[in-house]
């Protein structure tokens, strides 16, 4: 740890030794890129949303029943997907870090698949499985269950795309912490439930929160997979990102940007929460002393 710090400090000195013009150039470039690629579009979204005044913004958001439905749908589906993925992530991280079983490396690899596969492809897969021309679609229809072009399909697509977030965050954390504290709890008489709530969960809470936040941000904004499975029926299966696109295609810029600004606002809030979780995730360095009293 000491060595680490020394290395970092000397690295800092090296940067400080660069000529001033180079430093200014590098810093300036960084701000320029972030400004043009991130800040400016964001500001533009809000400017477009509010350029017609607060009244028009409110009308666009609230008095268009299709938009209202889209907001409602996203605010229902995204949290539901997050809850389900949190449960899955906890279970998967637990299984992977605490047990040895055949096929474990394969499972870990498969867990990353949703990051690698294009969401549109994922959506198409769901169509093939659950659509009327698909494998199970007719059977499910006969039972009166509709998956695609309905909310269960949207939920499935959202879950697929956001599946790895919680597990990915927890696995390295739980691996580093090891099973000893949990074993200690059990040896002291805790039942598995008490062990989970009193030892496991408090130890992973910030990592878990960060995973949930990432999962949530992605779930809110998912477009490709949902676009394919939802059939984007206005007032029925349109989510917020789909609604933004549709309004934009209909040349309703104020409406489109109003919805977009709400999405952006939620994203910013989520980001701030994530920042908070991250500061807790990196514990302050503890002075290591070995003296006994």
């Amino acid at each position: 740890m000491h060595l680490d710090r020394r290395v970092r400090r000397s690295a800092g000195r090296m940067v400080a030794n660069e000529p001033a013009w180079l430093r200014r150039l590098l810093i300036g470039t960084a701000f320029f890129i972030v400004g043009w690629l991130i800040v400016l579009p964001l500001v533009y979204v809000f400017w477009q949303a509010f350029v017609g005044g607060l009244g028009l913004f409110w009308t666009n958001i609230w008095h268009d029943p299709d938009t209202r439905h889209a907001i409602w749908l996203t605010l229902t589906i995204a949290p539901l997907a997050v809850v389900l993925n949190t449960l899955f992530g906890l279970a998967a991280a637990w299984l992977i870090t605490r047990f040895e079983f055949p096929g474990k490396p394969l499972l870990v690899t498969l867990l990353d698949l949703p990051f690698a596969v294009s969401p549109v492809v994922a959506g198409l897969c769901f169509m093939l499985l659950f659509g009327m021309q698909g494998w199970w679609g007719p059977t499910l229809r006969a039972w009166g269950i509709q998956i695609v072009f309905a909310w269960p399909g949207i939920l499935l697509a959202t879950m697929f795309v956001t599946l790895p977030f919680v597990a990915r965050e927890l696995i390295p954390l739980m691996q580093a912490q090891g099973p000893d504290e949990e074993l200690a709890a059990i040896s002291l008489g805790a039942n598995p439930w008490q062990m989970f709530w009193r030892v496991t969960l408090p130890n992973i809470r910030w990592g878990l929160l960060f995973g949930i936040i990432q999962c949530h941000a992605r779930a809110m904004g998912e477009f490709g997979a949902v676009y394919v499975v939802s059939g984007h029926i206005a007032g029925e299966t349109d989510t917020m990102p789909l609604r933004v696109e549709k309004l934009f295609q209909e040349y309703n810029n104020p409406g489109s940007f109003a919805v977009a600004s709400v999405l952006a606002l939620i994203a910013l809030g989520t980001l701030l929460l994530g920042k908070l979780a991250l500061t807790h995730l990196e514990p302050p360095e503890q002075p290591e002393s070995e003296s006994s009293q």
């Binding site: 200690a184 002291l188 009193r198 003296s291």
Partner: protein
């Protein structure tokens, strides 16, 4: 609470971790499981605790078969090598954990935790977090936490392994005293023979998943049952020699060995500890071996002298006490004579003393 281990086997894949272990730990004793890494000592401790299950064999606490019981139902206090303190809980809450999960009333929890923190001399640190404690303090919190629920026995995995030399020494003495006060049957794992001898009533030497010897520290040190135990318990000089007619020939040394009366000569190995060799300027008897001093190492209370025998082509280590070292005035390159006070002889394989 006594512990009986009967016919325990354990395998990890191809690796035989424990092979037919039979061991009795009497009530109230402090027992050390001693062995090099890979000897199975930690596995045995974990099987006693229930953290690991044996492939074969039974574990009895007193007369009760606990083989099928989980660690939760065995009521043992287990102290992990790296303490496994709950990092998000204060010292107080760590010690209170076992009581809290048993839904003990708050007043009793407070009383018991206070009592234990006094016992491990950590009063005043109740509100600290594990990260704010030194290694020795963490170790004592782990002990207090294990003792809080009044376990039937205390099991410690390398209890002083992660501490520096001075703290280690203090804690050893302290653990010994604690044990005398509490009289809880205690088993601890160590690879440090000094630690085992200093703390334990009984030492169990393990090697390759098997028990080599069980005995008091004195028994094990003075009468090692096998060459391995001899070698493992500190430095030793090894001589190759021949055995015939009740005598052992190790170069110029001759040692009586009445157990072997055959006239047929056979290979044997003699072991002499460094403090059992004597150095002199003049040959003491015909048994003295002429050697040359090649290194002098003052090591605390003794002077460690490395000598080389040109006749036998071997190096030996001799411990010389300080007063004698002062008399001898040894310098590197001096020619001196060495003679053994005591030699232990082991025949290869089939029979040993």
């Amino acid at each position: 609470m006594s512990i009986s281990i009967r016919g325990v086997h354990k395998r990890f894949g191809q690796f035989q971790a424990l092979n037919n272990i039979n061991l009795e730990v009497p009530t109230g004793k402090l027992v050390a499981l001693l062995g090099p890494s890979g000897s199975g000592k930690t596995t045995l401790l974990r099987i006693i605790s229930g953290l690991e299950t044996a492939d074969e064999g039974t574990i009895l606490f007193q007369d009760q078969d606990v083989t099928e019981r989980s660690v939760r139902d065995r009521e043992v206090g287990f102290v992990f090598q790296h303490y496994a303190l709950f990092r998000h809980m204060t010292v107080f809450e760590n010690v209170a954990f076992g009581l809290r999960v048993r839904r003990t009333p708050q007043a009793q929890v407070v009383e018991r935790v206070r009592e234990l923190l006094r016992l491990v001399r950590l009063e005043g640190l109740e509100q600290r977090y594990p990260a704010e404690l030194s290694g020795g303090q963490r170790q004592r919190v782990a002990l207090a936490r294990a003792l809080a629920v009044r376990p039937r026995m205390l099991l410690l995995d390398e209890p002083f392994g992660a501490l520096d030399a001075k703290v280690r020494q203090e804690l050893r003495t302290w653990l010994r005293r604690l044990h005398e006060e509490m009289h809880v049957t205690t088993v601890f794992v160590t690879h440090d023979q000094e630690e085992a001898f200093e703390v334990a009533d009984q030492v169990v030497v393990l090697r390759g998943g098997q028990i080599e010897q069980v005995g008091t520290p004195t028994e094990v040190f003075d009468h090692p049952a096998t060459p391995f135990v001899m070698d493992f318990l500190g430095n030793v000089n090894v001589f190759q020699g021949r055995l015939e007619n009740g005598e052992m020939h190790l170069g110029p040394f001759r040692v009586d060995y009445p157990q072997y009366t055959h006239t047929e000569s056979r290979q044997a190995t003699g072991y002499v500890r460094p403090h059992e060799l004597e150095l002199a300027r003049e040959p003491v008897s015909t048994r003295s071996l002429s050697v040359r001093v090649i290194q002098l190492n003052p090591a605390g209370s003794v002077l460690k002298v490395r000598v080389h025998s040109d006749d036998l082509g071997i190096e030996l280590t001799v411990d010389v006490v300080r007063e004698q070292a002062a008399q001898l005035q040894l310098r590197v390159g001096d020619a001196v004579f060495v003679s053994p006070r005591n030699v232990r002889v082991f025949l290869p394989s089939d029979f040993t003393i």
